[in-house]
Symmetry: C2
């Protein structure tokens, strides 16, 4: 209720000014974090076990996946189901709230993917216009 109403410019974006301590920014950062985005999209598809998820998302370290899942679980986006069996089996899935978020994220990701060619053209133009930096 503090964010930009199209056409109106008021207080700082997403309230509270200082990066740390602003709750909405914090949550948004969790959701839009590098691996958070990919985890949410994957779980939108179906539930996954830890290692399965790790393979599904290429390039994520064990540590970062753990950390990402913990943050998302704590924030109430992901449900963690640890089955007391040997060997251990833990399934991750989206909560209702997580699914709502994930849908929006996926929408953005799909749109982005479709736009990659346009972005590459833009870069070529940019690099051409300037001194072929990069």
């Amino acid at each position: 209720m503090e964010v930009s109403t199209p056409g109106r410019a008021d207080g700082p974006l997403l309230a509270d000014v200082d990066g740390a301590g602003c709750p909405s920014r914090l949550v948004l950062e969790h959701v839009t974090s590098r691996w958070g985005v990919l985890v949410l999209i994957a779980l939108l598809e179906r539930s996954y076990r830890f290692s399965e998820l790790r393979r599904r998302i290429g390039g994520v370290s064990e540590k970062m996946l753990t950390q990402t899942l913990q943050t998302l679980e704590r924030d109430g986006f992901v449900h963690r189901d640890a089955k007391p069996v040997i060997p251990p089996r833990v399934d991750y899935s989206l909560t209702g709230m997580g699914e709502e978020a994930a849908r929006r994220i996926r929408e953005l990701a799909l749109w982005t993917e479709a736009r990659v060619p346009a972005v590459e053209e833009a870069r070529a133009r940019y690099d051409g216009a300037n001194g072929r930096k990069r």
Copy 2:
């Protein structure tokens, strides 16, 4: 064209596996970056001058704002209009593509902000269930 089709699990998310070198992940990371998100939302509202934008978004350093704007400009999301006057005046605005992206981002941000109370409840439950860690 490689991203999750709801219900189907195939290759790694957003193609190409390795974090670096995967174009769609790269672009998505620019757009969902900490300051990128806030810049896009702000510019959706109206165009801004550099310092104006810096004040509008609380807590961003000059360096990071410059860097974020350059990345977004290079990717074709932001238009930079440098007027040859003294003192210098540079206006930033969204391109057509930038506006499309920004709308989706804002949608996510608004949704997130509305969900902050729910997130805080989830955290309380989480911290309560476990050993009051944190």
